[in-house]
């Protein structure tokens, strides 16, 4: 049986960004989402490596579409989507997070507020 792969922190962020972007999750948008919402400026090399890893784990799938804007130099675009397994993994991670943060709201809330 395939061993369940734990989600790394950056991987969780990437999956969440894709979920946020819904059907607009291209490489460039994901990077911008991470930068805008999570203040994580990752190199493109790291981002694509994470995407490849998530795909290998079966948490992502993608499809290639023809270029829609001239900004891309005529290159095609890859749209990512989270698979059921990915969604399950992020739920598990979120549950673990919630369970571990329960009772620490004051401490965490003060810092984040």
């Amino acid at each position: 049986m395939r061993q369940k792969s734990p989600l790394g922190e950056f991987e969780q962020l990437v999956l969440l960004a894709i979920l946020q972007l819904e059907k607009d999750a291209t490489g460039a948008r994901i990077a911008r989402e991470l930068e805008g919402r999570a203040a994580r400026s990752a190199s493109r090399s790291a981002l694509y490596t994470a995407l490849d890893r998530l795909e290998k784990k079966g948490f992502l799938r993608w499809e290639v579409r023809a270029a829609t804007s001239s900004d891309r130099g005529g290159q095609p675009v890859r749209r990512f989507a989270v698979t059921e397994a990915g969604l399950e993994a992020i739920r598990e991670a979120h549950a673990a997070w919630t369970s571990l943060t329960t009772g620490l709201e004051d401490l965490l809330g003060r810092k984040t507020s």
Binding site: G27, A28, R44, S45, A46, Y48, T49, A67, D71, Q75
Partner: protein, 891 residues
């Protein structure tokens, strides 16, 4: 309108180079371009470019890492057979998608080294083309049986005496007895002669075969292109004016006119109806036969047929022949003769077979030389190719991929060479009829078609050599560690073993081409000796016409003599004619008489030999410049109106050969002799021997000359001109006009043509041998040129230092030459050993040329030195002219 800003050019190009090979890579390219544009609008160009540069660097590194890890993982998965369920979705497509890419890469590589690639393709084409053509010829002439079903049951029937001599022809009675016999499944007759074939534009002299109607059925598998074959009803005495025409004649003479069947053509001025057209592939009884004419061979004055038979399946051959012998004796054949069957393949003699075998051997050598050259060419820039492959290995290119690219590159060259080789073979074989003389080629009953087995074998061998040489750089490049390569300078090769291999190849090439040049020199010198050999007579400025006096037009000897006299007058009226003479027999061949010759010496044993008998007029000896050594020529009083065979005491002149055989060491003048049952003949003079230009002394037979008497049904009119002779066609027209009711049997031609058949095989051997040697020599010179060029390229730095230190051009030249000289000397040494074996093989084809002949060796050495000088000229020039400063600066 907002204008898209391009990222930094160099980094963009680098990224494109690395990533544009796959769809995913292209989406990444698009992503970073999109981001660069966004950053350009937000932060300005400088910041956007800086970002792009940093991302490009990281993505490149990532891509290299990925190539190494993913491909090895992919290989691992392939080995374990685990299905590729996840990971890069395009991965399973890689081998196929990249095949096209590899093919394009290989094509680019071929284009980059286009000079060398072109030379390799040309050499390969030459090797494959010549080898295929030669083996096609060898197959058609030597290996393939005659092109008829069950060819082993077909045979030519002759009568042989107890001494094994074949009688000249089978008597008609015996032929008819055999036809009626049950010993064979079928017995048919055919006889080829020359005849004048009329068409709209005039008439031409062609080979016409008279055949019995059942011949085609006996051979089997003959289908006419148009019309029909002869049927059983044909061949009746009143229906013998029907002919079949060959496709070749139909196309060349009658412009492929479909209405020819049923039309009348004129053959020897007699009308004949065309009943069918036979395909060009049908060649029988001679390869050059173009018309088949019905003949029952039952007229007594006809020349008897050559007899062909098909053995019955259920009668053993010995029994059939024994029965045939008994029937022949019943039909009146000599008691000491018996029936004999020889296979239907034309008997070409040992020389022709030897020539074909020798040429096939030469072609094999040439093939090896050319393939070695192809390999040498491909190994030529081995060092740089090995560098290329090891660098690419270090950058992460998988070994299999590199091997595949090298394989594709070599395969492209191989395929190109094979295709061009097949085209060349087709060209050579098509032109074969003009390249090869009829005596070499024409006798074959098989047509020349490209031998596909030979073509495949040659192509496979050629492509294997190309692949072998093409894969070596890839094999050693992907094995050699890049660190080791990087440690060495670009100008000095780490591939000592490979260089040694290239040199060994060259030594072989030089040795083989030297052997070929030596063999060709011997053959050419032999041919020159043969052509210049004393023939015992002078045929320059002589024309001869074969004239027929058909019995139906000329019924008495007087009528024939009168016609001969008026023909002589007509010939004499032609400008420039000085001497004319009628004869039976046309030098170099008289009429052949084989049997027992008995001298008048006491107790002399009869001598069994073949003698050429010429019936000549007194002027014959003067006309042909045959010296009378002793005694006197004929006088008018010696001439008799009838055959020497029937008259006693006929005066004859004999040749030295004849005299020394019958009266060894004695004076032949005044002596007498008999032939078989003939009356006695009296020797009145001794003349010089006539010689054929032949390697075999046995072809020279003794001659005797008897008085001409009268023309009979056929005689030869020889004409000597004071200077160059008039146009033979003009002479023919003149003679034809003066000879109503008679026929000119052949074209009026110089007797020289009688010698051509004897010279054509040696000439073909010498010509083809020299051509092969020349090609081998050029190939070896090209190989040496590569060696010199590489040597100069490799030692540029050294040469620069030497020039800077004051080395003279002569010194540099010596340096460059020394390497080639060692190769050449080694090659010549090996060739000298090989030549000993070669001359043993060639011994039967050589005339007055010794294997140690200094002139031949001088020719070989001079030719080779010239080839080396030509090969070394340009590289040496480059070496001497190069500026030392520029050379030293290069590193």
């Amino acid at each position: 309108m907002r204008r898209a800003q391009r990222p930094p050019r160099a980094h963009r190009a680098l990224l494109r180079k690395l990533l544009s090979g796959s769809v995913v890579g292209r989406t990444i390219l698009g992503d970073v371009e999109e981001e660069h544009q966004a950053r350009f609008l937000r932060d300005g160009q400088r910041a956007a470019d800086a970002w792009y540069r940093s991302q490009a660097r990281r993505l490149c590194l990532r891509d290299l890492r990925l190539r190494l890890t993913t491909s090895s993982a992919w290989r691992r998965r392939r080995r374990s057979g685990t299905p590729e369920s996840r990971g890069r979705t395009t991965l399973w497509l890689t081998p196929f998608a990249s095949l096209w890419q590899d093919a394009r890469y290989a094509l680019r590589s071929v284009a980059v080294y286009r000079g060398r690639s072109l030379a390799a393709v040309a050499m390969l084409a030459l090797a494959i083309g010549i080898a295929t053509a030669m083996f096609t010829v060898a197959d058609a002439l030597l290996l393939r049986p005659v092109p008829f079903p069950d060819a082993d049951r077909l045979a030519r029937l002759t009568m042989r005496d107890d001494r094994g001599n074949a009688l000249i022809s089978v008597p008609p009675e015996v032929f008819h007895a055999w036809r009626a016999s049950t010993a064979f499944e079928a017995v048919e007759g055919a006889r080829s002669t020359f005849a004048w074939v009329g068409f709209d534009g005039g008439e031409v002299n062609r080979v016409v075969a008279r055949v019995t109607p059942g011949l085609f059925a006996m051979l089997g598998g003959v289908q006419p292109l148009r019309g029909r074959l002869f049927g059983p009803a044909d061949g009746q005495p009143d229906r013998d004016d029907q002919v079949l025409v060959s496709e070749n004649l139909w196309r060349s003479l009658y412009a492929a006119d479909p209405s020819l069947v049923g039309r009348t053509v004129r053959i020897d001025d007699r009308p004949a109806t065309v009943v069918g057209i036979l395909p060009a592939e049908f060649r029988f009884p001679d390869a050059s036969t173009v018309i088949w004419r019905l003949d029952a061979f039952d007229r007594p004055d006809d020349r008897p047929p050559i007899v062909y038979a098909r053995f019955a399946r259920d009668v053993p051959r010995d029994d059939a022949l024994a029965l045939a012998t008994a029937q022949a004796h019943d039909a009146g054949a000599y008691a000491d003769t018996r029936a004999n069957a020889t296979p239907l393949q034309f008997d070409y003699g040992d020389y022709r077979d030897g020539v074909i075998q020798m040429l096939a051997g030469a072609v094999l050598l040439l093939f090896v030389v050319l393939c070695a050259n192809v390999a040498g060419l491909l190994l030529g820039n081995l060092t740089s190719r090995v560098h290329e492959f090891s660098t690419r290995t270090a950058l992460g290119a998988p070994r299999g991929r590199l091997m595949r690219q090298a394989f594709l590159e070599a395969a492209m060259l191989g395929a190109g060479g094979s295709a061009a080789g097949a085209a060349l073979a087709w060209l050579i074989v098509s032109a074969g009829h003009t390249i090869l003389p009829p005596a070499t080629l024409g006798g074959s009953l098989n047509t020349l078609d490209i031998d596909l087995r030979a073509l495949s074998a040659a192509a496979i061998a050629g492509v294997a050599a190309t692949l072998g040489a093409g894969l070596i750089p890839a094999i050693s490049g992907t094995r050699t560690g890049v660190s080791r390569l990087l440690q060495t300078s670009g100008h000095s090769s780490p591939m000592r073993g490979a260089r040694a291999a290239t040199r060994a190849l060259l030594v072989c090439q030089v040795a083989l081409s030297c052997t070929l040049v030596f063999g060709a020199t011997l053959l050419v010198r032999s041919f020159i000796n043969l052509a210049g050999q004393d023939r015992g007579l002078d045929v320059s400025n002589v024309l001869a016409a074969n004239v027929g006096f058909p019995a139906e037009s000329f019924t008495t000897p007087e009528a024939r003599l009168s016609a001969a006299s008026s023909l002589r007058d007509a010939a004499r009226a032609l400008p420039g004619m000085t001497t004319l003479s009628w004869s039976h027999g046309r030098p170099p061949r008289g009429n052949t008489y084989g049997g027992l010759w008995t001298s008048d010496a006491a107790g002399a044993e009869p001598v069994d030999m073949i003698v050429h008998v010429f019936g000549v007029e007194p002027d014959f000896f003067d006309l042909y410049r045959v010296p009378i050594l002793r005694g006197r020529p004929f006088r008018a009083s010696d001439h008799v109106g009838d055959s020497w065979w029937d008259l006693p005491d006929t005066a004859v002149l004999v040749s030295e050969h004849f005299a020394s055989t019958l009266w060894p060491g004695q004076d032949p003048l005044g002596r007498r002799f008999t032939f078989g049952e003939s009356p006695e003949l009296r020797v009145i003079g001794l003349v010089r021997d006539l010689y054929l230009p032949s390697l075999d002394d046995a072809t020279d037979v003794p001659e005797i000359y008897v008085p001409f008497g009268e023309p009979g049904v056929f005689a030869v009119l020889s004409m000597r001109c004071g200077g160059p002779c008039p146009d033979p066609n003009q002479v023919r027209e003149q003679l034809k006009a003066a000879h109503p009711g008679g026929r000119l049997l052949n074209e009026v031609a110089p007797p020289e043509s009688g010698y051509l058949a004897h010279l054509s095989n040696p000439r073909a051997a010498a010509t083809l041998g020299s051509s092969f040697a020349l090609i081998a020599l050029v190939a070896a010179a090209a190989g040496l040129f590569c060696l010199f060029s590489q040597s100069v390229a490799r030692r540029r730095r050294e040469l620069g230092v030497r020039t800077a230190l004051g080395a003279t051009p002569a010194h540099l030249r010596r340096l460059v030459w020394s390497e080639g000289l060692i190769v050449t000397l080694l090659g010549i040494a090996i060739a000298a050993i090989a030549s000993v074996a070669l001359t043993r093989l060639l011994s039967s084809m050589l005339l007055d040329v010794a294997p140690t002949d200094p002139l031949s060796w001088a020719i070989v050495v001079i030719t080779l030195v010239a080839a080396i000088a030509a090969a070394a000229w340009y590289p040496t020039k480059t070496a001497v002219r190069a500026s030392p400063v520029a050379l030293l600066r290069e590193d």
